[in-house]
């Protein structure tokens, strides 16, 4: 699916340069369910942003779907995020003014899919996460777990090759978190979606097929 080779990422904060990633290597195959485990500040979110084409590494080589990810224009990056990647965030990141269905269909809107087709596909993925009866609700009217289901549906809606989940259960209680995790497991098992889950919770990482541990900007254990 994708390969990272000696990825470095540094930010300039005032006069100081802070290196967040200090040479990350990683190889993720199609159909994997991988957990990236690490305490906060270890650079796992930065790594996810790089994998998700939201951010570029300072140095290193990133190959996605067999193609190097360097020198892409902003529109190409947007296109890859739109078609190949589905994001699930800790804070759900749904647009509060849109209904559940409209939120789910957002990736298709930017792909130029006609409204009717969008809604049809949106309902399809909403039923996959058991949220079809809430399609007209706005995020504010949904519980945290329900919002995260909608967010997963949005990530699925564009049929991406990779789903990136950044602390997807971090804002949820354990029971709800487990339900969300079940959804990821079944998506991976039944539909073969490649999923990378970023978490600080070892209990969650154990449920994934594979996990890597990050510490201080490096992968320390496969």
């Amino acid at each position: 699916m994708f390969k990272l080779k000696d990825i470095h990422k540094a930010y300039t904060l005032g006069p100081m340069e802070v290196e967040i990633l200090k040479g990350v290597d990683m190889d993720v195959k199609k159909g994997e369910l991988l957990a990236i485990l690490g305490s906060s500040g270890c650079g796992k979110s930065t790594l996810m942003n790089i994998i998700g084409f939201l951010d570029q590494p300072t140095s290193g080589r990133y190959v996605f779907d067999g193609k190097p990810a360097e020198g892409l224009t902003d529109n190409e990056l947007s296109g890859i995020r739109n078609r190949k990647i589905g994001f699930v965030f800790q804070q759900f990141h749904l647009l509060p003014k849109l209904t559940a269905l409209e939120n789910v269909c957002l990736p298709l809107l930017y792909r130029g899919v006609p409204a009717g087709e969008r809604a049809e596909r949106g309902r399809e993925v909403l039923s996959k996460v058991d949220m079809i009866d809430r399609e007209h609700h706005r995020p504010g009217e949904l519980s945290g777990g329900q919002q995260q289901r909608v967010a997963i549906a949005r990530a699925l809606c564009g049929s991406p090759s990779l789903i990136l989940a950044d602390e997807p259960t971090g804002a949820l209680d354990t029971a709800t978190g487990n339900e969300i995790m079940d959804i990821f497991l079944s998506l991976n098992d039944n539909e073969g979606v490649t999923i990378v889950v970023i978490t600080h919770d070892p209990g969650l990482a154990i449920r994934c097929k594979r996990s890597v541990r990050m510490q201080d900007g490096k992968v320390v254990g496969q």
Partner: protein
């Protein structure tokens, strides 16, 4: 399709920030409203100024005669027959209406009032479009007769003396007694019509020329055979009067005056429009301000949209659509406000009210343009935001 979606979302988001949208709207409403009002008032004033010419016809001109250059003695004075013979000798002139003014005291029932008078021919009424309230106008058959037609202000004066139906009454002007045969209605005063039509009385020209004051003939109105012949007419008249009485002619045609007035009025309208535009710019800055606040408030939303694959152009379009809608709605309301203000101005100044199509189209078009112009910078800022930074503030 994405545009339709943008329009829907923009309305939703503007509605969501009602107070802020309303404030920006007020700026645009005042801006567009003042442009519309200013330009429309300019056009109405222009229309008002030109209206009297339009009524008289733009094929008329005023010819003024003066003695030839000093040193040479004026051996032959101008006489009425020379003027009346103008249409026969000048092919460009259809009819003439000579007039001569004089001044004396009007006496009625022992009350005296100073009063100008105009000696006119029958044609005068037609040329300067003098409407009558009562009686008849001076006729060419009234040669040397002591008849007069009252101007509107003198008719009012007589009414103050208790005479409500002046036709048939006798008044004294100067040393002679005149019979009132008609009353004229007020005409719009302007550069062309002699002011005596409203302010004085009108007498047969032959009567005035024979009066002891012996006023000199020096001016006449003429109607030309059509438009665009004033230069030719001027030459013919100069030649004719050079031959008959060694007089110099100065011709003022309504056509030229109207053209000149048009130019001046256009400048005037432009000036008013420019003044209005300043408030429009202020309104536009208000829109820009609101959009900038909106962009910085919605960084998170921008980040989310970018994460799911929105291109910079999509984000830019979204915010641009929002500012255009804001300005456009302001423009429509401003149009109403501007027209309303113009109607009120016209009501109180007695001008003829009309809605200028150009101002309306201009106002609505300009408001959309203001939206694009002042919305571009905030929209660009939204689009240029780094997705990762934007997402972090979500």
């Amino acid at each position: 399709m994405i545009l339709g979606e943008n329009v829907r979302e923009s309305i939703r988001s503007l509605w969501g920030a009602k107070q802020r949208s309303l404030l920006a709207l007020i700026g645009i409403v005042i801006g567009i409203g003042s442009v519309i009002a200013m330009v429309t008032v300019g056009q109405i004033v222009e229309n008002e100024a030109i209206r009297q010419f339009k009524e008289m016809g733009t094929d008329i001109c005023i010819v003024r005669l003066s003695g030839i250059t000093s040193g040479q003695k004026q051996n032959k004075s101008l006489n009425l027959d020379d003027i009346m013979a103008v249409p026969e000798h000048c092919s460009t002139i259809r009819v003439v209406a000579p007039y001569v003014s004089t001044y004396s005291t009007l006496t009625f029932a022992g009350v005296r009032k100073s009063c100008p008078a105009l000696g006119v021919t029958e044609e005068f009424r037609n040329m300067f479009k003098v409407p009558l309230v009562a009686g008849r106008f001076i006729s060419d058959l009234d040669r040397h007769a002591n008849f007069c037609v009252l101007g509107s202000s003198k008719a009012e004066w007589l009414a103050e003396q208790g005479v409500n139906e002046p036709v048939g009454e006798k008044i004294v002007f100067g040393e002679r007694m005149y019979t009132v045969i008609g009353v004229a209605r007020a005409v719009p005063s302007g550069t062309f019509s002699p002011y005596e039509i409203n302010e004085g009385i009108m007498l047969p020209i032959s009567t005035v020329l024979r009066s002891p004051e012996r006023p000199a003939l020096s001016v006449f109105g003429a109607r030309m055979i059509g438009h665009g012949v004033s230069v030719h007419a001027s030459e013919q008249l100069q030649n004719y009067f050079n031959y008959t009485s060694k007089q110099k002619t100065r011709i003022t045609s309504a056509e030229e005056l109207v053209a000149q007035m048009d130019r001046q009025m256009r400048m005037f309208t432009l000036l008013l429009g420019a003044i209005g535009s300043i408030s429009l710019i202020v309104g536009g800055v208000g829109v820009m301000n609101v959009m900038l606040v909106s962009v910085s408030e919605r960084r998170g939303e921008i980040g989310i949209r970018r994460a799911v694959g929105a291109e910079q152009n999509d984000i830019q379009l979204q915010f641009l659509v929002e500012s255009v809608i804001l300005s456009f709605v302001g423009g429509i309301i401003g149009l109403g406000v501007g027209i309303g203000a113009t109607a009120i101005i016209c009501h109180f100044s007695g001008w003829e009210f009309f809605v200028s199509k150009i101002a309306a189209i201009l106002g609505v078009g300009v408001s959309a343009a203001v939206g694009v112009f002042f919305g571009y910078y905030p929209a660009r800022q939204a689009a240029r935001m780094s997705p990762i930074d934007a997402l972090r503030s979500a």
